[in-house]
Symmetry: C2
Subunit: 241 residues, 2 copies
């Protein structure tokens, strides 16, 4: 007995045919979105059956989705108990930012020599856009542009592995917090200036060491600003070098 199951009708067990991606992927994005939206706050218990019910699928794809999220560190998983949304304290955010400063600095240096004049132009255009938005400041939009700007600089990195690592770290930060600039709006102005500076270094074929240093500093300065703003009493011990 085939248990008539879902309304989708008899032929639609597989997702791909109708919509284009697997159920597990759908579940994955669904959950991820909830986490990003804070609907599932840290500590929230992710129950397979419940989610499966809401998404109108069996628990199997949901389970897989959760394991994927676990691999990304978004949720913690305990055997025979289940998954819950990871706790993300400030500390982790800061560590991730620092790691990103290192990765991004290196990736940018590794890409510098491969950027064409056109690439630079494109990056500069993005930065101009950022400057324009400074008036009616929208932290979320600014952060998006910021990401675009840097992506433009290192996407051509000579080392795809570094690109992976950077993107991964960026995604991680995205989970931890929507936008840093929401916390320290004043940082935005400096930021765009530093962007221009980095561009000039690249254009003038400055030593790669200089470029790396500038790119790293640029990001760790954001972190510093955040620290001073939010935790004036602590320090990370990051060498500025």
């Amino acid at each position: 007995m085939t248990t008539l199951r879902q309304a989708q009708g008899p032929g639609a067990a597989q997702a791909s045919g109708s919509n284009g991606q697997s159920k597990s992927q759908r579940a994955y994005h669904w959950i991820k979105e909830r986490i990003a939206n804070q609907e599932f706050t840290p500590g929230y218990r992710l129950v397979l059956g419940t989610i499966a019910g809401e998404l109108d699928m069996s628990v199997v794809p949901v389970r897989e989705a959760i394991r994927q999220l676990e691999a990304e560190g978004l949720v913690m998983f305990e055997r025979n108990v289940g998954a819950r949304v990871s706790m993300v304290d400030d500390t982790q955010y800061r560590f991730s930012m620092q790691a990103l400063s290192i990765l991004e600095g290196a990736a940018t240096a590794l890409a510098a020599r491969r950027l064409t004049a056109d690439d630079i132009r494109r990056a500069r255009a993005i930065n101009e856009l950022m400057i324009e938005t400074l008036d009616h400041f929208d932290p979320r939009a600014f952060t998006r542009l910021n990401q675009e700007f840097h992506a433009a600089l290192f996407e051509k990195t000579a080392n795809p592995r570094m690109l992976d690592l950077v993107e991964n770290e960026w995604a991680r930060l995205g989970h931890l917090r929507d936008s840093t600039f929401a916390f320290i709006p004043g940082r935005a102005q400096e930021s765009v200036r530093e962007h221009e500076n980095i561009l000039q270094l690249i254009e003038s074929s400055a030593p790669l060491g200089e470029i790396e240093k500038a790119a790293r500093r640029h990001r760790s300065a954001t972190l510093d600003a955040y620290m001073i703003h939010e935790h004036p009493d602590e320090a990370l011990g990051l060498p500025a070098f």
Copy 2:
């Protein structure tokens, strides 16, 4: 012949009771070991049903194991097609080494100020051991000691996220190749000298920038040696900075 299998009968679906860990974990380790042992060579097709049969379990845990391996980059997965062991060309190895040089250099610098005299002593002891083994050179053992040495230096890093990244990258390299030193035995001597150099920098509280540079160079020198040995015609474009 066991095939009537689960003598356990229809009940006992759960593994934990008898052995202690889940079937999916068992499958995970089983597959991983095969890959490490080169029994499953790159490109090898991982068929759920077959593996499930060999491990005497259903396909569900196997599937999960494979997804885990996918997340680690050990296997490639294609929807509705299946998984195969990732291709690992030299290129990836080199990129990973370069990434590691960057990560490890930074992690070492971030740990430098937190190392006690005792930590240094321990690291030096490991290096002495490495020197001793130079006579009857065993690449595998040397690599293991090398890992221990560096781990001793950065395990106290101020940034746990960096530690994660470094360890992850190291694991990745482990999959890609057993030991670099098997390819370029001559590098071993230089290597231990550089180790001592790094130790002295840390002891003398050299600027963190110096320490990072030394640690990074140390590893990228290994990479360079490998390149010269194996691919004298190519270049990576890594800035020595």
